[in-house]
């Protein structure tokens, strides 16, 4: 039996006024896959992730996630998603615990206290749980954002430049977490400029340029030098 498709995009176009950010994206991703999207600034990576996250509506095309239409059945898609970007989506005047409690209540999670303790343990912030988030360092805030992302057991993780602003410790935590979630059959889509880390984590890679996916393939057998050459061929 073949693995079911988690993400299906067909002819996705996105206009912002006269600017076309996406020019017909076609993409299929199987459940449990980890896809790295690489591309220069302005390639439309963030727009693509925002459409997948139901935060933006495509101007044309089909977006299906776990069999649901992400435009018409967005309320069914949202609980399946965990989104991590370089902005944390956290409230500085609330403590780490209160932030997670807020998001947990929004998702209607049961046994919230135990789950919060579990995710804080994963990101190594248990000691600082009752400290206001605005007193956290950038790295700690990003680690808490990781806890927020995985709090509601997402099935599809969307990571937009997840390493931005992270210290070494936090990068290693995030990588461990991605590997762990990947091993638990969580589907992951990550946009990053970090070719080395992206290649290391992802089992599929895509290169996006000027609003189109110009290359998609398996990362198996590719080394960083080979990938850099491939990247240059399509991007420059």
């Amino acid at each position: 039996m073949s693995t079911p498709i988690m993400v299906h995009l067909e002819g996705v176009i996105k206009h912002f006024g006269t600017i076309t950010a996406l020019r017909g994206i076609d993409l299929d991703l199987k459940r449990g896959c980890c896809l790295g999207i690489f591309g220069p600034n302005g390639a439309g990576k963030t727009t693509l992730l925002r459409i997948l996250a139901t935060l933006a509506r495509p101007s044309a095309g089909t977006v299906c996630i776990a069999g649901y239409d992400a435009v018409r059945e967005a309320e069914k898609v949202r609980p399946l998603l965990g989104v991590l970007s370089h902005r944390t989506f956290l409230y500085g005047h609330l403590t780490a615990y209160e932030n997670l409690q807020f998001y947990g209540r929004m998702f209607g999670l049961k046994q919230l206290t135990e789950r919060i303790a579990e995710v804080l343990q994963i990101v190594d912030l248990m000691t600082y749980a009752h400290q206001l988030v605005r007193t956290y360092s950038r790295g700690m805030q990003q680690r808490l954002a990781i806890a927020r992302t995985i709090l509601h057991y997402p099935k599809l993780l969307l990571l937009d430049e997840p390493y931005t602003g992270l210290d070494k410790h936090a990068i290693s935590r995030l990588q461990d977490l991605i590997l762990r979630l990947h091993s638990e059959s969580c589907t992951i889509i990550m946009s990053t400029h970090d070719l080395y880390r992206g290649l290391d984590l992802c089992d599929e890679i895509a290169i996006q340029c000027r609003g189109k996916i110009v290359y998609k393939g398996l990362s198996l057998g590719l080394d960083v030098q080979g990938f850099e050459q491939l990247y240059s061929t399509y991007v420059e």
Binding site: T54, L55, L81, F89, Y91, F102, Y103, R105, G108, Q141
Partner: protein, 240 residues
């Protein structure tokens, strides 16, 4: 029959989630405000300053005071609302938290309802603190007509909160958010403010509820129309 009962279960479950999310959002906003007191302080200080400035401008002419006091109170509330909304909007944009909230919402109008209720509570606090000061400075007995005034203020504050929240969310998606909010909000609020000023003024003059019923109906219709309209369009308002 079975289809009907299934629809009813879905509706009940959706309503429960909606209420749960409204309460979570409201609790978060109030907790943050309790810690910072930024929104209430800015709104209250501004409202008091408006009242003080008018107090000096009008002087001691008792008849003139009676004529303009309702206008002074509502102008103070109107501009205080703009200040409160700007601060509340900034809280959601600081770390792009609004995006996180949108990702968690089952029905996005829960965000509108929660923000509107929070704004209404801030306005209520401002009215509770400002009205006694107005009574003292302008020598007006608001207590004598407290019941009727409560109804008038409730309708007026509800209207300001509804359109304020709607336009604050629209303005958030524009570059010059702080300029756009008053430009969008103030003209639309004019019918509501006119009705509120006349209703309050006539109550101060000793008129009965029946005499001001037209104004109250106008305010009620304004609130109902904008509330329903916002519930319908809010999903598009918060989307790119």
């Amino acid at each position: 029959m079975c289809k009907d009962s299934n629809s009813f279960i879905v509706l009940m479950s959706s309503s429960k989630i909606f209420l749960q999310q409204v309460l979570a959002l409201l609790a978060k906003d109030l907790k943050t405000e309790w810690r910072t007191r930024e929104i209430f302080t800015s709104m209250f200080v501004f409202a008091v300053l408006v009242v003080v400035v008018f107090n000096f401008a009008i002087g001691a002419d008792t008849e003139l005071i009676r004529q303009v006091v309702s206008g002074v109170v509502w102008v103070a509330l109107l501009f205080a609302t703009v200040l409160g909304l700007q601060r509340a909007a900034q809280m959601e944009t600081d770390e792009d938290s609004l995006q996180g909230v949108l990702l968690a919402l089952h029905d996005r109008s829960a965000l509108f309802v929660a923000k509107m209720l929070a704004q209404m509570l801030y306005l209520l606090m401002v009215v509770i603190c400002t009205l006694p000061l107005c009574g003292i400075w302008f020598r007006i007995d608001f207590i004598a007509r407290i019941g009727e005034l409560c109804l008038t203020f409730a309708l007026g504050m509800l209207g300001l909160s509804i359109i304020g929240t709607l336009f604050a969310m629209i303005a958030l998606h524009t570059r010059a958010c702080e300029v756009m909010l008053p430009i969008l909000f103030l003209p639309i609020s004019i019918p509501l403010i006119i009705a509120a000023v006349y209703a309050t003024g006539q109550l101060i003059d000793g008129k009965s509820l029946k005499d001001i019923s037209d104004y109250l109906i106008l305010m009620g219709v304004f609130d109902a129309v904008f509330f329903s309209l916002t519930l319908i369009i809010f999903d598009s308002v918060v989307e790119d």
